[in-house]
Amino acid sequence: MKTVSAGLLVGIVLVFVAGAGSAQEASRSSAWTRTTPKSEGEPKGYVQFQDYCSMCHGEGPGQPGTMALQAKYKGAQPALLSQRTDLTPQLIKLYVRNGTSIMPIFRKTEISDADLDLIADYLTRNNKK
């Protein structure tokens, strides 16, 4: 596994470089928190993103979703979903309810429609209006 881990670390470094241009939330990490996240002072949907997405699409080591998006866009888009400005609620819902590549399908008993709306709010909050 050692060689694989070294590869992952290179990927992660690239992710941070790719994400560095997005200054809007430079101080806020989207890494999965070890305690239950609080909503105070956070954008709408942050808590739901934390609960359902950040363990795969957050910052930090061992984030398969972030790594896959880095491999896909090679820096043309931020690998971190929380820094994207081009996602639409329809697209987010399509991926969550149908899966893609190794990302599996998520059921309503896991992520309710109401929580999915909030996740979409969070991931589209920086889109140009």
Binding site: W32, P61, R107
Partner: protein, 528 residues
């Protein structure tokens, strides 16, 4: 709308109304879009008519609702397939084995009933994931370690009843359980072990209760719906230490694994470790590739020389130690003494990590080994894969067995024309005591021909393993029949016993028909 097998549309429609009355209309899923979310994301039957798609799903919240659902299903003879968090990816995900079954989705039952840090146990419902339990413990600052499966979104109960494994001293998840609450196929609730004593004070502390111990019948089982389960937890240790042992020659594997088995069976090493072959990681090096490409392949002497020159070693194991800092240091010293009789052995000192492990210490090792759930296991090949299924035989914990298995599976892969890529022969790992688990990943693609070929190959590999005395510990729903047929001692005496029990406990055969090759009487085929 799909119908459950053998159920009329009139009856199904009446049953759906009754399910809705029992759990609430919004928790009965019948639309194509909703039913689609219960497909196996890593199905080896993708785009094929054989893909087992459910007819509908029902999601109760609480044991009384589970009882009501099971009673209704029993009245209408509707097969139910039970899922917890539904993330058993590689083994069937959230989809049933039998197409048209209704999925009984327990994800909403996600209560953490108790975490006890004095006697170190937890009591949870099936919808609780490793992520959920970890955060609960961190929020409250409790000094206990959980043992996550590699994918942290898994259910403690779902993984344990499927006999999954982790990496810490509590890594054999079914073995770590203590006490179950089960809804039986007639809707009755039963508690096992000390839970059978009303107002018991030791349900999570003494496993066996009184009389025959039945808990094992409810693992990899179709006899009941587990609605609560207790788990023993490891007290948060003072320290985690790892040290690596590397040997230089091929046949050094035999004393290396003998030493490992001694340390594990003596309780000195109590975590998951894998026997690694450093040469496998170097196979892209042109010098090594040239050796392998020679007619007849590389000789052992050539490989040993290559390993020596590159200072790689032929085999290595990383030993994990959990406990007081002084004790783990002494255990590592003792391990080195034990292995020092192997000529040329090398030791690599690991660092001592003290609990609680800080986030910036994490990249050094897999966080799952220190009880922090993660999804990093999905990182390997994530950019180009549509999923995977696992072929996962158990082999003896000996060097001889590893050498034999490597040869047997290499020959079989060559004969079947299969690629020996990075998912070939992962491990062998000590996820369970006294043996090795070997994992072989079979890629899933949305390509019918490739999946058909892979399914055929999978079945052949199961046979090859069985012919050498190695059986699977667990398998994808698509291969349960195949694997069950290999456990055939004395004309399938064990399977026939399971069928006798199934017929007695679930006469209408409503729970998980076909699971692990056990079919209800009315669906059972004549045995060849």
């Amino acid at each position: 709308m799909r119908l459950p097998p053998g159920v009329s549309s009139h009856d199904f429609s009446s049953a759906l109304t009754q399910f809705a009355n029992a759990v609430g209309k919004e928790w009965v899923f019948t639309s194509d879009d909703d039913v689609n979310t219960y497909r196996d994301s890593y199905s080896p039957f993708w785009h094929e008519p054989e893909e087992p798609i459910p007819s509908a799903a029902v999601a109760p919240d609480g044991v009384e609702q589970v009882q009501a659902v099971v009673k209704i299903a029993n009245n209408f003879k509707i097969p139910l397939w039970i899922i917890s968090t539904g993330k058993n990816l590689g083994y069937g995900g959230s989809a049933p084995l039998l197409g048209g079954s209704m999925v009984l989705d327990l994800k909403r039952m996600d209560r953490i009933i108790e975490v006890n840090e004095k006697n170190h146990y937890a009591l949870v419902e099936p919808g609780v994931s490793y992520f959920d339990l970890y955060r609960y413990i961190q929020d409250k600052g409790l000094k206990v370690l959980i043992d996550p499966a590699d994918p942290g979104w898994g259910s403690l109960i779902g993984n344990a009843v499927d006999r999954g494994g982790g990496r810490t001293p509590m890594r054999d998840h079914f073995d770590a359980h203590c006490g179950m609450e089960i809804v039986l196929p007639d809707g009755e609730v039963m508690r096992t072990g000390m839970g059978a004593l009303p107002d018991s004070k030791t349900w999570q502390q003494y496993r066996y209760g009184f009389g025959p111990y039945v808990d094992g019948l409810f693992s990899q089982s179709s006899l009941g719906v587990v609605t609560k389960m207790g788990f023993w937890l490891f007290p948060q240790p003072e320290a985690y230490l790892t040290g690596s042992v590397t040997v230089m020659k091929r046949d050094d594997l035999i004393p290396l694994v003998a030493g490992l088995a001694y340390l594990m069976n003596s309780g000195i090493v109590l975590g998951t470790t894998s026997v690694a072959n450093p040469l496998a990681f170097a196979r892209r090096d042109p010098a090594l590739a040239a050796l392998y490409a020679k007619p007849g392949g590389a000789s052992t002497e050539e490989l040993e020389q290559y390993a020596q020159e590159k200072n790689l070693g032929f085999w290595s194991v990383e030993l994990p130690f959990y406990g007081p800092a002084k004790v783990v240091a002494a255990q590592w010293e003792y391990a080195k003494e034990k292995f020092s009789t192997i000529p040329g052995v090398k030791f690599t000192e690991g660092t001592i990590n003290r609990f609680p492990i800080k986030p910036d210490e994490l990249p050094q090792f897999n966080s799952v080994a220190v009880g922090i759930p993660s999804l990093s296991v999905f990182g390997v090949g994530s950019a180009r894969s549509e999923g995977h299924i696992w072929f996962s035989p158990i082999i003896p914990m000996t060097g001889e067995a590893i050498l034999e298995a490597q040869k047997v599976f290499t020959d079989a892969y060559k004969e079947l024309g299969m690629s020996m890529g990075p998912m070939f022969f992962l491990g062998p790992s000590s996820n369970y005591p006294r043996c090795f688990l070997v994992l072989f990943g079979f890629p899933i693609e949305h390509d019918i021909e490739k999946n058909r070929k892979n399914r055929e190959n999978f079945k052949k590999i199961v046979q090859v393993a069985a012919e050498h005395g190695w059986g699977e510990y667990r398998t994808h729903t698509a291969f349960m029949e195949t694997v069950a047929q290999t456990y055939s001692f004395n004309n399938h005496a064990l399977l026939r016993f399971h069928e006798t029990v199934k017929d007695a406990v679930d006469p209408n055969g409503i729970l998980a028909p076909g699971k692990c090759g056990i079919w209800p009487k009315h669906m059972r085929k004549a045995r060849a």
